[in-house]
Symmetry: C3
Subunit: 155 residues, 3 copies
């Protein structure tokens, strides 16, 4: 692997991370599943510790189920990615996610901050996520009376 | 176009996006206008649907007018950019923007999340925005009594 | 310096910026100090104007002291970086930082937005920060009663 190939891999993996969260926030679940290797393993935080979900389709089904009726915004900040071989990479991607939903006449929100820690594999010419962990730094949350935007816009 | 030229174009367009929002937040309107092609078209959300503004100068004038007296922070998160030819590219850039202003003795704020969807052209050796759309995922807003920072700093 | 070397330098400096804030937020102070040149100069805002701290170790000690007992999240958004020579670069990195701490039974928070303006030097094959300035666009802050997360989760 020469330096140009390493630089291309970095660009492609960043674009993959951006595509994954765009699909997530636009609820394009086929596009979201396509970001994962078929046998990908995703670990998510749960009340009872880390649970593993296996397979691109199962990961997409799990996430789409959890986020039904919730507006989400996921942000990927400047990451650290190491290209370990022509077809294997590892990365730490800082993320923020905002969730917003209505319940009992109030708007509820949650803002989380942390890191995706991932392994990537290049399969048939395309980089995909093969392992996915989420670690958290901070979660903020709250709720409020919904108010119309028009009344407070900056004019 | 070889791979190194594609990689250079990606770097240059990211730097353009970063420069555009720095100029915006520092209210450097000449620098902001310079990020657009002379005949650029910018579509912005308005109460009555999408309005088009045509021309780098008109776009800068429109934005500077709207943001008078308002502190702004625009963040560009990891984007997806496709280099379509040596001098044409298309991109989806996730963005967050925070607006903050005072009115009637209160601090008002608005936090928006969405995507810039843009076409870029390389003109006389420099990439510029030729078409600019904004789509929104979520807008949050509120107001509060201003309090001095000194009293609550983490020490 | 050819174009591939310039592109490599851009990648390496972005990774340095990402590593610096990951170390900061995970309170890895040895890793944080390692991001700076031994004779680095860091200017930080203080009540009495800009103060300079000199030396990687002194910078890390100063920051770690200030942030004791505080959860931090630092985000690096798309930056502008100029490679001036094979071993010298300059950059403007947009940043957001969130601080969260408890005091007198309340959760206090501060959210800051601004730019890191930095000079980088390549020393013994590794890019490091040699000069570091912080400029601010906006600081938001507040406090609230802590509430358990479980009661409000979207799931």
């Amino acid at each position: 692997m020469n330096e140009t190939q390493r630089l291309s891999a970095l660009e492609d993996i960043r674009a993959l991370m951006a595509r994954r969260v765009r699909c997530l926030d636009e609820k394009d679940w086929a596009g979201f599943a396509d970001c994962y290797a078929e046998d990908a393993v995703s670990y998510s935080l749960s009340a009872s510790g880390a649970d593993a979900t296996i397979g691109a389709r199962a990961i997409a089904d799990g996430v789409s189920g959890k986020l039904q009726g919730i507006i989400t915004v996921h942000q990927i900040h400047t990451p650290e990615i190491d290209i370990l071989a022509e077809d294997v990479a590892r990365g730490v991607c800082p993320l923020a996610d905002i969730l917003s939903w209505e319940k009992d006449g109030r708007r509820h929100w949650l803002r989380g901050y942390g890191h995706y820690r991932q392994t990537f594999k290049k399969i048939d010419g395309s980089w995909r996520i093969s392992e996915h962990h989420l670690t958290r730094l901070l979660i903020e949350h709250g709720s409020e009376e919904p108010t119309p935007l028009g009344a407070v816009g900056p004019g």
